[in-house]
């Protein structure tokens, strides 16, 4: 059991996958920006490489870069993979950018079965599709829900199956005034 420092993990990955970049968040937190095409290979490398052995997926989540004050502005969805190694007790963060137009990232459920549920949640709330996922269905919202609530440009529906969410005359910020059923 020997933890590998974050920079050393990055060096090991970069040596194998030159397209991966090591980046830092605004407060200095390091992460690896992985190109979409490399994700499954990088994940497999991180999980199986003896000195790294990231055997657990702590969390898989996403956030919408639209409205985030970054330079240059972006409207991608960032999918975040937080990995942990129970054997070596070290961590790494991967990020993959999924463009809004073609919002899909290959599934990593082949590496960590825990991703099966996490990916369903990200699909439901962000609309990121995970090709290769065996049962990519909505998990939080009903199957016939419209839109993906955690996207920053999400419009709240005024009603669902005829049940109004608001009183007459009210409407949600950014949504068109009430009338009709779920868009």
């Amino acid at each position: 059991m020997s933890a590998v420092a974050n920079d050393a993990i990055a060096t090991a990955v970069l040596a194998q996958f030159p397209a991966v970049q090591q980046k830092h968040a605004d407060n200095g937190r390091a992460f690896l920006l992985v190109p979409k095409g490399d994700l499954v290979a990088v994940a497999h490398f991180l999980r199986t490489q003896k000195s790294l052995r990231f055997d657990a997926l702590m969390d898989l989540t996403a956030y919408d870069l639209l409205k985030y004050p970054s330079t240059p502005p972006s409207d991608d969805i960032a999918v975040v993979y937080l990995l942990f190694s129970y054997q070596h007790r070290h961590k790494v963060t991967l990020k993959v950018l999924a463009p809004r137009a073609e919002c899909e990232v290959a599934t990593v459920s082949g590496e960590w079965p825990a991703a099966l549920y996490f990916e369903r949640e990200v699909f439901d709330l962000f609309g990121v599709r995970f090709p290769g996922h065996p049962s990519l269905r909505r998990i939080m919202t009903p199957d016939d829900w419209q839109g993906h609530p955690l996207r920053k440009d999400y419009l709240y529906p005024d009603s669902y199956h005829g049940v109004a969410h608001l009183r007459d005359g009210q409407h949600f910020e950014g949504s068109p005034p009430r009338g009709g059923d779920t868009p």
Binding site: A25, N27, M58, D59, Y63, D64, L82, W112, P113, Y117
Partner: protein
């Protein structure tokens, strides 16, 4: 004992459990397709309790989100508060200009309430599990003891279930005058009660054999499927965030970590339902010890709330109005395992993204895997042994 699901006649029965089945610990629906008495497929259906808490987090200011964390897991709301507050503090402190530290007394109170809440949460878990396999009495014993914790918390912060007590920078109020005596008295009384509880349930042959070798999860499976907390330790993985990634004052307390070791004897196996149950019981005993240890460390109260030693609340009013940009991921050990907050701040009063990863979510994710091939009657026992709390899954 695992029996392979076979389809001799191709006749299968679909059974709908829930969404209001009493054994589902909340509003969970499970669609079970069975072949006679044996489960062929099991499909959990989530979302009945989805309140979009993560979305709400993007709409309210940093401290205003604390009451919502209560609702993420109302069985251990103190731990849920604590997880978010530690993450928020860490993100604030990533700006070197923010030099506040949580006062020593505040840190001690945090651990004290977190461990008391762990006791009450595990009592519900073991009691409900016993109820799920058919013994009603232990549940009432568990609930009766939990009242003791609830009474202390009610005096402490006015609430019995959703406390909103731990705040960013410390805790909301100091301990009340007689708190220390009352907590000591409760712990003494409760420790005696646990002996009775163990005689009634834990060493009960019927209960032990009922849970032995049911839904066994190997250590490798538990890690790969993202199980955390007692479910992970039940499978024999020696890992506890309180010991291995200590936060607060846990590093000084020397937390002992129980792991599953086929407690049911020859009939059992490492990682079965009985192991998960016993690990929770041992954690209760460890929590009693930790509570007593913290009471020894507790510095006397100071006059000012933000006193670095005797205070309980650092003043962060200005900092949360102008937080730094950036992101943070912090995980803490809640009774149902790792509660991880991934926060992204864009420098405004409201967080840009609040992500809460909970133990029950991944525990529910393994259901369809472990339920295959078990008996129909074991389904509720399995749900009970994983100790899921549905609002934590749906959030």
């Amino acid at each position: 004992m695992t029996i392979e699901a076979s389809t001799p006649s191709g006749e299968r029965m679909t059974l709908n459990m829930g969404p209001h089945h009493p054994a589902t610990h909340g509003v969970l629906r499970i669609v079970v397709e069975s072949d006679g008495e044996v489960v062929a497929t099991c499909t959990p259906d989530h979302g009945y309790l989805h309140r979009s808490i993560e979305k709400i987090g993007e709409c309210v200011e940093w401290p205003m989100f604390v009451p919502y964390t209560d609702r993420v897991d109302y069985v251990c709301a103190m731990n849920a508060n604590l997880a978010y507050c530690i993450a928020a503090e860490k993100l604030l402190q990533s700006d070197p200009a923010n030099t506040f530290v949580v006062p020593r007394r505040g840190e001690c109170i945090r651990v004290l309430v977190a461990e008391l809440n762990r006791i009450s949460s595990h009592l519900v878990a073991v009691g409900a599990m016993a109820m799920d396999v058919g013994a009603y009495t232990p549940f009432l014993h568990g609930i009766a003891q939990r009242e003791g914790v609830n009474d202390i918390f009610e005096k402490l912060c006015g609430q019995r279930l959703t406390y909103n007590y731990v705040t960013i920078g410390g805790v909301a109020y100091d301990l009340y005058d007689t708190a220390i005596d009352e907590i000591r008295r409760f712990l003494d009384q409760f420790e005696r009660e646990m002996v009775r509880f163990n005689k009634l349930v834990t060493t009960n042959t019927i209960f032990r054999d009922r849970c032995a070798s049911v839904a066994t999860v190997s250590a490798a499976e538990a890690i790969a499927w993202g199980l955390v907390g007692p479910n992970l330790r039940g499978s024999g993985v020696d890992f506890d965030l309180r010991r291995d990634e200590p936060y607060g004052i846990y590093g000084e307390l020397g937390v002992q970590v129980p792991v599953g070791q086929a407690f049911a004897g020859r009939k059992g196996s490492v990682g079965d339902a009985y192991d998960r149950y016993v690990v929770r019981l041992l954690e209760i005993l460890e929590s009693i010890r930790l509570c007593r240890a913290v009471l020894e460390l507790l510095p006397p109260a100071a006059a000012k709330a933000n006193d670095p030693i005797g205070g309980w609340q650092a003043d962060v009013g200005k900092q949360v109005k102008r937080p730094p940009k950036g992101e943070v991921h912090v995980r803490t050990e809640a009774p149902r395992g790792e509660m991880g907050y991934f926060l992204v701040s864009d420098g405004t009063k409201a967080l840009f993204r609040v992500r809460c990863r909970t133990g029950s979510f991944t525990a529910a994710g393994i259901f369809h895997h472990v339920m295959r091939g078990i008996f129909l009657a074991d389904v509720v026992a399995v749900i009970g042994s994983f100790d899921i709390v549905v609002p934590e899954i749906d959030r």
